[in-house]
Amino acid sequence: MTKESKISFLFFAPAGIFMLIFLFFPVMLLIKDSFFQVDMISQDSGTFVGMSNYIESIKSDRFLGATTNTLIYVVVAVSVELLLGLFFAMLLNTGFKGHGFVRTILLSPLMIAPLVSGLIWKFMLNSQFGIVNQLLYDFNITSSRNAIQWLSDDRTALLSTIIADIWLTTPFMMLVLLAGLQGIPVTLYESAKIDGANKIKTFFYITLPSLLPVMVVAILIRTVDAARTFDIVWVLTQGGPANSSEVLSTYMYKTLTRYGEVGESSAMAVLFIILLLLLSSYFLVSMFKANKK
């Protein structure tokens, strides 16, 4: 070891040891447990069962349902957030008088806990006392005050959780995209103007391509976050009714705490990690390719 790497080691060793014990070891334990039938109460190491936890997970309809719901949740939430965020970012980027103030307003939900977002929407979407149904009734969109049972109807439960997610994290998307927009050199727009490009052409040929790398990172971060969402779904529906809004994280939580199935929930967690790593590496590789062009 050179002197320099020795010094470096001294500085990162405390964090390294901490992470080894409380992050690396848990992940190893997770992988190990996924091959065992673990008894939560006696806390012995359990019996080795090979791949059976994985096979059981993949074969169960509930796991497949939760995976589908997670995918719907991620795709719908992230695309709406991207469009809304881009819309707000472009409006703010025009630099109108007072844009700083409006940006502050729009950014304020960033610090709200997902739990609180869940509570707010639980309150607003309540079928008896909720203001959403009241407004729909007032504007003559629905015929009665409790026409839509947002949280207890299996057709709308997942949608309700997605609404809460979109509301909470669109500001994040907007912030990242705004930073990206402001990083596009003005000269690009000037030369486009000289070449006689109109606004729509400028948007598709300059703004979008220049924004692409930032957009990919933002989508990646949001995809990983939306895929592991727990608080919002737990508070709003707990995955119900009839598992219609069950996502992977709530299902794993229930498998662990309600049914005490450490092995099976670990196997699902490992599958989940692999899925996310594959997804994020796909994103990163495609971004790398785009950058090369």
Binding site: I7, F9, M124, Q134, A218, A227
Partner: protein, 290 residues
């Protein structure tokens, strides 16, 4: 000649006028959209100051008709909410101090001195950020349980610190890389060793970075619900878990719940607006560049 330049000038000023008007119009529309966007939060604040009969009404209105602190009073009657807030604060505070300390130390070592082991360590740190918390939650529960720490502050402090350390390392690396190496060298010439030059020179210079990192670490711990739900039951129960209990199958205390949700989030909102510059720089640094 004169008339020609006159008409072009007129055209120019008309164009400018339209542009100016256009911008104001965009500003107006955006302001209204922004207010609509955050109206759910405003609605919760308004609801929390309604009398309970109005808060849970079959025909709810946006603005309160009557002002009352009833919900805030009954919030205290329903559960020991103050001790939940204390638990949230103490675990978030201690874990923030720990993770920023460990993170800054590691980031300095990795940013200033090249080492192969360090690069491997950085790569692992990045990978760990990708792992969903729910999957860490399962083995964490088993480890904390076997240590006999279930329902203690230590359980949450350990968990939050371990989640925040990798994040703190990456964020602080960004800040240290922006501090010129000459700072360290000057300190060394003045007789500091590596550790004292880090403590006396580098840390004070990177105060904005430390502040940003602290805010993010604190917010993660303060807003956490999953681990608190899993690892605590009575003694160390945090505010998020407490607030969620206003809504159970048998009990729908919506009025006090809105009061608790506002008390929990409003101070943070105001604080975040005050220090927004740091938050924005940290966000963009952590996401766009990281």
């Amino acid at each position: 000649m004169e008339s020609l330049s006159n008409t072009t000038q007129e055209k120019k000023s008309l164009f400018q006028w339209i542009r100016k008007y256009n911008k104001q119009f965009i500003g107006f529309i955006t302001t209204i959209l922004a207010l609509l966007f955050i109206s759910p939060y405003i609605y919760i604040i308004f609801t929390s100051i309604k009398p309970s009969s109005e808060a849970i009404s079959n025909s709810p209105t946006f603005f309160p008709r009557e002002f009352s602190i009833e919900n805030y009073v009954s919030m205290f009657d329903q559960m020991p909410i103050l001790s939940y807030f204390f638990n949230s604060f103490i675990t978030a505070f201690i874990s923030t101090v720990l993770s920023v300390f460990l993170g800054a130390l590691a980031a300095y070592g990795l940013a200033r001195f090249s080492s192969k082991l360090g690069n491997v360590f950085l790569l692992i740190t990045l990978c760990i950020r990708m792992i969903p918390m729910i999957s860490i939650a399962i083995p964490m529960y088993i480890i904390i349980n076997s240590m006999g720490l279930i329902d203690t502050h230590a359980a949450l402090i350990i968990t939050y610190t371990s989640i925040n350390v990798p994040f703190a390392i990456w964020l602080m690396m960004g800040f240290f890389n922006n501090i010129p190496k000459e700072f360290d060298e000057a300190a060394r010439i003045d007789g500091c060793n590596i550790f004292t030059s880090f403590l006396k020179v580098i840390l004070p210079v990177s105060l904005p970075g430390l502040a940003t990192t602290s805010i993010f670490c604190f917010m993660l711990a303060w807003n956490d619900f999953l681990f608190a739900l899993l690892l605590t039951s009575t003694n160390a129960k945090t505010a998020t878990v407490g607030i969620s209990e206003f809504l159970t199958a048998y009990n729908l205390d919506l009025g006090p719940m809105t009061a608790a949700a506002v008390s929990f989030s409003l101070p943070v909102m105001i604080f975040s607006i005050l220090v927004q510059r740091y938050i924005v720089s940290g966000m963009t640094l952590g996401s766009v560049k990281g």
